[in-house]
Amino acid sequence: MFINYEHNSHVYNIEVERKKNQYFVTYNNNIYTVEAHEIKPGYLKIRLGDRIIKCVISENGDNRFVFIDGDVFRVKRIQLTGMKKSSRKEGDLTSPISGRVVRVKTKKGDIVKKGDVLMVIESMKMEYLIRAPYDGRIKRINFRENDQIDMGEITVEIEKKRKKQ
């Protein structure tokens, strides 16, 4: 699942997949494989490599408080909702916001992996990352760095890698 968190007007895009007690958390092109247990409600013990992260989380609607190492962060889970049924082709990555393209991290013809960041769009001091939804090849890039972009415009077109026969 994809989750977006807002903290101090920055947006963080995370993908997380779960297999029993194993979680695969993708953030900023890094995949963190962790093992996690909820010891009592809100109290998590997370093993990341040879480290243990202990934290306490409370939830109130979309608001989250995270206690970690004595610091507390107030975070909001944000839903990016209201998607209309679109006639767009699979592989057309649209911009979720109106803003400015601050980084283009790929070029036409590049082979990309699922989760790779292709483009960074900034709006209201927040950054939104356009990621590859699956392994594939970049067919077309519609914007250059510093271009203005409107919500819903297609940022990058990507061709899905065919499964080996």
Binding site: E6, Y23, Y32, V34, E59, V66, I68, V72, M83, G152
Partner: protein, 500 residues
């Protein structure tokens, strides 16, 4: 001597809880009063009897003298403990108790009134040979009088608007040649800012510290002091960290200040627990600032280092018992620190933070004390002071106490409102604090515009959040994305919404 059989506590929060527990240990029945928003508060839960005061507005509840007197009469309480804040230093309340035949656990009304008048208090102390900050607060406001008085006081000199505030009409003068100019300029500023050009002069204290002495005085003329508390770490002129002993204290200075404190209490015929606040400058000259005629927020650090229960002594003294403590037998041992846990945001001008306390877990361990008046599920409203609790630690020495406090703060979980806990820890971890190099300007000098985590959310927190939310998938998301391609990030595309 017989103790009271029933005491009403005219307060709320941690201090009401503290006093109720002291009464319970002494087998005194307790009565809690509470406003409508506090009906489930811990002080209400633990008391033997409760009286509802209604409307949470302070003037309609905890500050309402007639409601509280009526409550005490209705339950047959023989005495009222006012705690601190609210009616604790209100001479009319102390008088109203006396008039109703209820014992007020604190100083006499006339003493409260005298010490509440800062100028009269200073004059009384001067007469008793307690040093006061040299100054001129006179009515003669012509330039030549002010210059003459200024020279008499000496430099550096503080020139301040009588109606002052916010630094307007305030000057620090370092030598005689700038005095006249500074007085004229302060008067002009005061005139335009407050419509009143009256100013006063006071010796400016370099590297000032706030050091206070706890005293206990019975109704038979016995007075002892319980040593000092260093309270220099303040924000918005309110203490946030207190410790004892003071890192600058010497046995000789302690003796002199202690004797001055006892003399100050004697001068006004003080009874019960009280505190003499002094300013101490960089050269360790001390000056009387004011007397607090009540139990102090920070009294537990004195209890930790002396082994004396101040709240219990307040009850005994009020019941007419004689002090059995003798000055020469009193000793301090080890080091104690208190941190005040406030629901406030240090990254945002220390403004109070309101909300529901979703989770609280207090650190426990040897020599760690938590005086708290809140619990999980309670709502922090804007009606009252945002103090949630006090964390007190005791160590063999100052370093040990600092380390213990840092440990305890880093394990103190409060979720649901923003608290100053991470900030307190940063203060304790500061090199200057460790060295004892502190003044009342400490926060201003070292923590101006402080914010938690300049680098944003740590990756560990993001991982934890993602794991948590995938353990507890929201009902909403499950439905919303059921049909969507699970690998497609642009299913998020559309209306960009940042929650309110």
């Amino acid at each position: 001597m017989k103790l009271f059989s029933k005491v009403l506590i005219a307060n709320r929060g941690e201090i009401a809880v503290r006093i109720i527990k002291a009464c319970q240990e002494m087998r005194i029945k307790t009565v809690a009063v509470y406003s409508d928003v506090d009906s489930k508060a811990p002080h209400v839960q633990i008391a033997d009897e409760t009286v509802n005061l209604g409307d949470p507005t302070p003037s309609e509840s905890y500050l309402n003298i007639s409601k509280i007197i009526d409550a005490a009469e209705s339950v047959g309480a023989e005495a009222i403990h006012p705690g601190y804040g609210f009616l604790a230093e209100n001479p009319d309340f102390a008088q109203a108790c006396e008039d109703s035949g209820i014992k007020f656990i604190g100083a006499k009304p006339e003493v409260i009134a005298l010490m509440g008048d800062k100028i009269k208090a200073k004059k009384t102390m001067e007469k008793a040979d307690v040093p006061v900050i040299p100054g001129y607060h006179g009515l003669r406001q012509d330039i030549s009088t002010l210059v003459k008085e200024g020279k008499k006081i000496g430099f550096p000199l503080l020139v301040k608007a009588t109606a002052g505030g916010g630094g307007k009409g305030m000057k620090i003068v370092h030598s005689e040649e700038y005095l006249e100019e500074a007085i004229e300029s302060a008067k002009r500023e005061a005139k335009s800012a407050f419509g009143n050009d009256s100013i006063f002069l006071e010796k400016y204290l370099d590297r000032p510290r706030h050091i206070e002495f706890q005293i206990l005085a019975d109704e038979h003329g016995n007075i002892v002091h319980l040593f000092e508390r260093e309270c220099s770490i303040q924000r918005r002129h309110q203490k946030i960290i207190e410790e004892t002993p003071s890192p600058v204290m010497t046995p000789e200075l302690r003796d002199r200040m202690g004797r001055a404190a006892v003399a100050a209490a004697k001068a006004v015929g003080y009874t019960n627990a009280g505190t003499i606040e002094f300013m101490v400058d960089g050269d360790l000259n001390f000056y009387f600032m004011e007397m607090n005629t009540r139990l102090q927020v920070e009294h537990p650090i004195t209890e930790a280092t002396t082994g004396i229960d101040i709240a219990k002594w307040q009850l005994r003294i009020a019941a007419g018992m004689e002090l059995t403590l003798k000055q020469h037998e009193l000793t301090q041992r080890g080091h104690a620190i208190e941190c005040r846990i406030y629901a406030e945001d240090p990254s945002n001008g220390f403004l109070p933070s309101i909300g529901v306390l979703e989770k609280i877990e207090v650190p426990t361990g040897p020599n760690i004390r938590n005086d708290t008046g809140v619990e999980t599920g309670m709502e922090i409203t804007s009606y009252y002071d945002p103090l949630l609790s006090k964390l007190i630690v005791y160590g063999e020495n100052r370093d040990d106490a600092i380390d213990k406090m840092i440990w305890a703060l880093s394990r103190y979980v409060v979720l649901g409102v923003t608290t100053n806990i991470p900030f307190l820890r940063k203060v304790l971890e500061h090199k200057a604090f460790r060295k004892g190099d502190i003044t009342t300007h400490f926060i201003e000098n070292h923590f101006k515009n402080w914010t938690l985590s300049k680098d944003g959310l740590p990756v560990d927190a993001l991982i934890a959040l993602a794991v948590y939310d995938s353990m507890h998938p929201g009902r909403e998301e499950v439905v919303r994305y059921k049909e969507a391609d699970p690998h497609s990030p642009w299913r998020h595309a559309g209306r960009w919404r940042i929650g309110v």
